[in-house]
Amino acid sequence: MPKVTIDDISIEVPEGTTILEAARMIGGDIVPPAMCYYSHLQGTGGYCRTCIVQVTQGSEKDPRPMPKPVASCRTTVMDGMVVKNTTSPELLEARAGVVEFLLINHPLDCPVCDQAGECHLQDLGYDHGKLETRSEFPRREFEPIDIGPHIKLHMNRCILCYRCVKVADQLTDGRCHGVISRGEASEISTYIEQAIDNDFSGNMIDVCPVGALTDRTFRFKSRVWYTKPVDAHRDCPTCSGKVRLWFQGDDVIRVTSRKDEYGEVTTGPEGNPEWICNTCRFDTKSVHDWEIEGPSHIQRQSVISANHYESLKALKVTTERMYDANPHGTKVDLGEGALDPNNESK
């Protein structure tokens, strides 16, 4: 089995494992952020470039470093490969550049976005971005549209990760949406105003890392951080029936799949991704339909939800960075861990 060293931690992984997957096997802070890769979908990754890493040694046999950063989600490890992620300041700088690109046309309308609180772009921005934008040009704008009875598309927020396209290709019985136009003008669209209505189309909402695809039945009902997630299941003839119910008071106001720490749908006992069908998601919202298992463990570090969920990491916003953004302000030393949501003493 090839051995790879990522940020000074070595691990042996099966032949054909990507750097990103190897990093996830190690876990923790050294895992590169991934906005377009999705382990349960084939052919994802390579587009967003947030997962780039520096390969300082190609392999045992050919120790030459790779001249450019590589997309860790699409690069397989070689025996003796040495990778730098968090230990390379230049790489982190380059990643900040990628994040900046993803944000210059993003509306940052988090206050009115249903994804706020569980948005990967928010996390990414906090963890790897800069505090101020350097772009002064108008952002790209599109009108929000309903694509079918269940899904709302806010193209303004889309980062063109292609995940929803792959879901439609791989889970539903006929894709009727995709990327049209080129370059900066690219947009996700249905072909000639077709509606997306398909047993498994709702999973497009779950794979969308941002608020571009949202659940029309949940729209503006609440904010994610006011709701309580609970794991539940039922006997479903179409899918695994394993879901996450989002309660407001005694009402189920949203049903989603269960997600792991990387925001991907959880893996079942046979290694199968636990996608859910549209009936479970959109039409089964009575508590009596479900057998409740207990409160969900949210493993993400979602920014706005920080005060509500356990097992979170501290936000990486240091006073140092706040000061950098506003050099005219006063520098206050809040002390180590001041912004750690789990730190009750502050």
Binding site: K68, G183, S186
Partner: protein, 444 residues
């Protein structure tokens, strides 16, 4: 062999027709190859010749051919890249328009060497009239038995198709080209796998530039060693250069690799010097994507040695003081040229042509164009120049395909060598009143 190899026959009336081409020795090399030479030997001769890809990257053709996977029972394809869309490059057009049979003969020989029974010419949509010329020539070749089943009784079959693109620069990138040829959106593929293993319809495929494939004919005619004797060092043979800009004699020239740049610009055999007796200011030596160099650095390297028209010499000094051979689009600028305005035109092009798959190129190319427009519009500031520098740096090396770099390098090199000109624009906005009206921000 003289320096005129690919263009040796281009002055002959009617050379585009098969009978005239045949009168001047056309298809004699094909006949010799099919009767006397094995496919392996064809690949071997190309290796010996040292021929390097003429599409831009300069990758050794023989080596590329030797990477071609040959699994049993799986078809292999040869694809000719005639998409020629890099601004400043127009040599394939001349080659195919004047003497289409030369490239076709080269493709038949190459297909034989690679064991491909189907070959495609992917030609840019704007060259539709050349597509007609090629189709006519292909018809003639079928009729003469040079294409089709059992060519010249050798047992070798080959079908050759012309596919006309729809006018996207990105479809010149080999994997986007293959996608487009398969009838899909022209998005570059994420590599690996490389086309040599999984190319057209997931089968092993070689993609070569038109000029590369045409050069196979003289190589198999006189032998790889004779071809390698032309040129200098690892830059063997001849190269077509598309010369444009402020010169007395713009056009397509075939040069022996290794002649001094100074000779190429000033000799009456080639560019014939700068127009109207002006002074040389800068040159983009290999098509719009390669770094621009100021006059002193294009004529001489940083060490003071004469700069030569070869892959190595043009690249000497790296990007600090050198550039690249690229596709041979040689754009000459005189002393009156505005580097910033020229850069804006390039930036606009790359912005327009980005396929939009990866974030740095999709978002960065438009941003750079907007900043350049702002500067030209008299609203720039010194920090905009630094921002431009940062943006190009953040694109460079972080994209799926080299279009990102193609967009970044011109910006980087213009700032590196001509920063004072950017500063002049931002510090003296009143000087640029006159350009305002014809630079409107392009919206996509």
């Amino acid at each position: 062999m003289s320096a005129k190899i690919l263009l040796a026959l281009d002055h002959i009336e009617g050379i585009a027709s098969l009978p005239v081409y045949a009168q001047h020795g056309g298809y004699a090399v094909l006949k010799k190859v099919l009767s006397d030479i094995s496919p392996q030997q064809v690949v071997e001769e190309v290796k010996i010749s040292g021929l390097r890809g003429r599409g831009g990257a300069g990758f050794p053709t023989g080596l590329k051919w030797s990477f071609l996977a040959r699994p049993e029972g799986v078809p292999r394809y040869l694809v000719c890249n005639a998409d020629e869309s890099e601004p400043g490059t127009f040599k394939d057009r001349y080659l195919m328009e004047r003497n289409p049979h030369l490239m076709i003969e080269g493709m038949i020989i190459s297909s034989y060497g690679l064991g491909a029974n189907t070959a495609y010419i992917y030609i840019r949509g704007e060259y539709f009239y050349i597509a007609r010329i090629l189709e006519k020539a292909i018809k003639e070749a079928y009729a003469a038995g040079y294409l089709g089943k059992n060519i010249l009784n050798s047992g070798f079959d080959l079908d050759l198709h012309v596919h006309v693109g729809a006018g996207a620069y990105i479809c010149g990138e080999e994997t986007a080209l293959l996608e487009s040829l398969e009838g899909k959106r022209g998005n570059p593929r994420i590599k690996p796998p490389f086309p040599a293993v999984q190319g057209l319809y997931n089968c092993p495929t070689v993609v070569n530039n038109s000029e590369t494939l045409a050069a196979v004919v003289p190589i198999l005619d006189k032998g790889g060693a004779a071809y390698a004797a032309i040129g200098i060092g690892k830059s063997t043979g001849t190269k077509l250069i598309s010369a444009s800009g402020h010169i007395n004699r713009p056009g397509v020239y075939e040069i022996e690799l290794g002649i001094p740049v100074e000779e190429f610009i000033y000799s009456d055999e080639y560019c014939g010097g700068i127009r109207n007796g002006k002074k040389l200011k800068a040159v983009v030596a290999g098509g719009s994507s390669v770094p621009i160099l100021p006059a002193d650095l294009i004529l001489k390297t940083a060490e003071g040695a004469p700069r030569l028209m070869s892959y190595e010499s043009l690249a000497e000094g790296g990007f600090q003081t050198g550039t690249m051979m690229g596709s041979g689009g040689f754009i000459v600028m005189d002393e009156d040229t505005s580097i910033v305005k020229n850069l804006y035109t390039f930036a606009r092009f790359y912005h327009h042509e980005s396929c939009g798959q990866c974030s740095p190129c999709r978002e960065g190319t438009g941003w750079m164009e907007r900043i350049l427009h702002k500067i030209l519009d008299g609203h720039g500031s010194i920090t905009d120049i630094d921002l431009l520098w940062d943006i190009q740096k953040n694109i460079d090396g972080k994209t799926i395909c080299p279009l990102g770099e193609a967009a970044a390098w011109p910006v980087a090199s213009a700032i590196r060598h001509f920063r004072s000109e950017f500063e002049e624009y931002v510090l003296n906005p009143h000087l640029i009143e006159d350009v305002k009206h014809y630079y409107r921000l392009q919206t996509t």
